[in-house]
Symmetry: D2
Subunit: 143 residues, 4 copies
């Protein structure tokens, strides 16, 4: 059974705002909805700064959501590790997002001493179909 | 020998500004430096909106640069195809970018009837080492 | 709700043996365990031809398992499409497999007109932890 | 300028045959053609065991070639590190290989203390177009 998170949703949010203030640059950025055992759920508010013409949410906005969701899952599991760095991210874009908030659910598939590997499922709020699937690897600095 | 581009740098830039005005939302976005046979070079200006604490350029800014660079290479090769959509993007992040503009060089490895596949090499201006390597696939709508 | 498969496990197995006889070249290859709505389960028998020194199953054997598992999920959903081709595969290797059969569970996240996208979870039989996670894209020929 | 290799082609070949004897199981496997600064060239002989019906070389055979080519580039650069493990591999398949040997050219884009990242270009011998492009990451054990 995966271990319980060592940081609460509130603690992770406060840490994120401190170390990554610019995720909210130009408008609201991703928000931590929940953390759990090796997992995290983030919401990306539907906002002009994330849009493509036609009102659809842009690829880079989804990629940023996936990146931070994995980072939050690592943080919640290990405690504050500001120096963890993304080494690999891979995305499949499957459908056009609706004109709604996006929900990203991150789950770590491995949390090793040096590497964390996880996936993120991104959906438009209230829908079942995946908009985007991401996998990523974080390098964890020696502690 | 790969075919000559069918759109000039100026034509591609004007088309991008028209269909993706929001890449410059909140500050200067990626700029087309050059187009060539199955290739394109883009510059991401060093600007506060792309930064992480410590002054380094963020992962999502690099991912956006790679995405648009591949799209520009497709545009330059095929002419205006506003509906081409990214289906897959994969990134390896290798070094921390310097406090300088980033240069992304996109090259299409395949330009088929339905799919275009390419890679993007991202470096800090004036440096040899790669900061990030990306590969991506675009689905091309039937014409 | 995903559609029911249009081919049975037996029909898919017979089709595979006919079009890909060489997956059993040199010893037993992957076996179809089950097909379901947009999904398939394959077993790779533990056999000398798939091993690395130390008795662990090789990376290429796992990659072959993932590739065929996605193909079987496409077949079961669409019926015999011998010309579907893999365009992209991406793997994260997370743990050393045990000295046991491997089980690969494929699930299609998108089954479009031109592209099918899915993921494969690979585990050693009887274990919960993932050995490998794969995502892949198949191009489906016009019908 | 990248460092000169620390192992010769002959030394790497002998090491490979010793630690991975099974790459030649069932017929000739990949052969080291050359090693260079952060690079390696491998040849996969055209042989029945690597074929798909129609005489084309199979995806798993290409994936195995890419994996070993990156490993050889790591070996040639670092000396014998039998415990280096693949953590990530990503492939774009672009064309059907010809009925000929395949040539895989691996180049390391990063050789760090913990991670090596590289790409592999795979072509049918004597052709310019890429059959497959791969990127991969190796975790290097502490020395």
């Amino acid at each position: 059974m995966p271990p319980e998170p060592v940081m609460s949703r509130e603690a992770v949010s406060a840490f994120l705002d401190e170390v990554f203030p610019q995720i909210h640059h130009g408008g609201p950025g991703p928000v931590v909805e929940a953390v759990g055992p090796l997992s995290a759920t983030m919401r990306l508010p539907y906002h002009e700064r994330h849009l493509r013409p036609g009102g659809t949410i842009s690829g880079p906005a989804m990629m940023g959501l996936a990146d931070v969701a994995l980072y939050v899952a690592v943080l919640a599991s290990l405690g504050p590790v500001p120096l963890a760095v993304t080494t690999n991210l891979s995305f499949n874009f499957m459908r056009k997002p609706a004109r709604r908030d996006l929900i990203g659910e991150a789950r770590l598939m491995k949390l090793g001493r040096q590497l964390a590997v996880g996936e993120v499922l991104i959906r438009s709020e209230g829908e079942d179909d995946l908009v985007c699937h991401a996998t990523g690897t974080y390098a964890i600095p020696p502690r």
